[in-house]
């Protein structure tokens, strides 16, 4: 496949994914659909995959390089490529949405020179838990059974288990310091 065609086909998903996310977020709000912006990042990834594959198919068929093996290889390549684009797009959004570092920075930006005690009153352990429970309910990872929280899904826990195994492989402590551990307070 000519170089210019490759560049066009590879750039389209990268360039399109964020504007598509923004369009989907606005479309969902306009039509009153209750879809979280984090889910919109993944929906935009599916659309970017479609756009990338369609562009590649069009350019490859014009260049006359398309056959069954090339078609399967191209689909597999674009699936891997667009999965990475989707993850990066979601990651940037998730950092702006859920990162405690970013939240603290924005909170200071709202009132530059804020007293440390006031900052810790506005953003603390209780508020962090309160912000996460509705998100976990929305993502289906938790369910409410009366006034009790029960597990609703497993993929966040599966991800946490995979992260624990990776930590062991990479010699990183597999779990955070616990309140009752001897090293608590020194972390």
């Amino acid at each position: 496949m000519p170089l210019l065609h490759q560049i066009v086909a590879l750039l389209i998903p990268v360039v399109a994914i964020w504007p598509l996310t923004s369009l989907l977020v606005r479309f969902n709000r306009y039509t009153g659909r209750r879809v979280s912006p984090q889910a919109a990042c993944f929906h935009a990834g599916i659309l970017a995959f479609g756009a990338g594959v369609a562009t590649w198919l069009f350019l490859a068929s014009r260049a006359g390089t398309l056959n069954a093996g090339e078609l399967l290889g191209g689909l597999a390549y674009f699936f891997a490529y667009c999965t990475c684009c989707t993850f990066l797009n979601w990651f940037v959004f998730a950092v702006s949405d859920t990162s405690m570092h970013v939240h603290l920075m924005v909170e200071v930006g709202r009132e530059d020179g804020i007293a440390l005690n006031e900052l810790q009153r506005r953003y603390n352990k209780r508020i962090i838990i309160q912000a996460r429970i509705p998100r976990l309910l929305e993502l289906g990872q938790l369910r409410l059974n009366g006034d009790r929280l029960v597990l609703g899904g497993r993929w966040v826990l599966a991800g946490a288990e995979a992260a624990r195994l990776m930590r062991i492989l990479l010699s990183i402590p597999p779990q955070p310091v616990q309140e009752d551990s001897p090293s608590h307070g020194r972390a």
């Binding site: 977020v25 597999a76 702006s96 990162s99 970013v102 930006g109 429970i133 955070p176």
Partner: protein, 173 residues
Amino acid sequence: MLRALFFGIAAFTACWLVHLIAWRIHRPQGYLLWLPAIFVALPLLALSALALGGVLPREVLHSPEHWLAPAMLHLLISACYTCSYAGLTEYSPSAEILKVVRDHMPEGIAIDNLHVKSFTEHSLTGKRLDDLVISGIIDIREGRVWLTAAGHRANGMCRNYRKLTGVSECGAG
């Protein structure tokens, strides 16, 4: 494209094995410097060495249509891995909440009784304030917290990004 997929994944796997061996010997602190060195600089050095040694034909290096697609895939997988690495060194509060709920299954747990042992004010906010001071985003003087010039820029970028994405300017954290 199948060839591009194979070489893209193979390049990432080779670099990841180098990263694994290096981390087993000694885990460095500044991963934002070391991971790009392993996943970007190392393959470039290896390719240059192979080309200079005559193992890799120079025509391949001079014709980007041979290596653009595998290189892009390798770079994207490496970028994803580098971003995920932060999740390995910082423990997810959401996952910690789910683990506590899992320990109380099948009856579940009332929200008021939810107590996560790894959640301390230091681990959640204190440590992060320290990180922001070290990275030059905020400054703490006489009990008050100020944004530095870099902090103002980062804060502006974050707010503009969220505004353009179509969501509120501040996430729930």
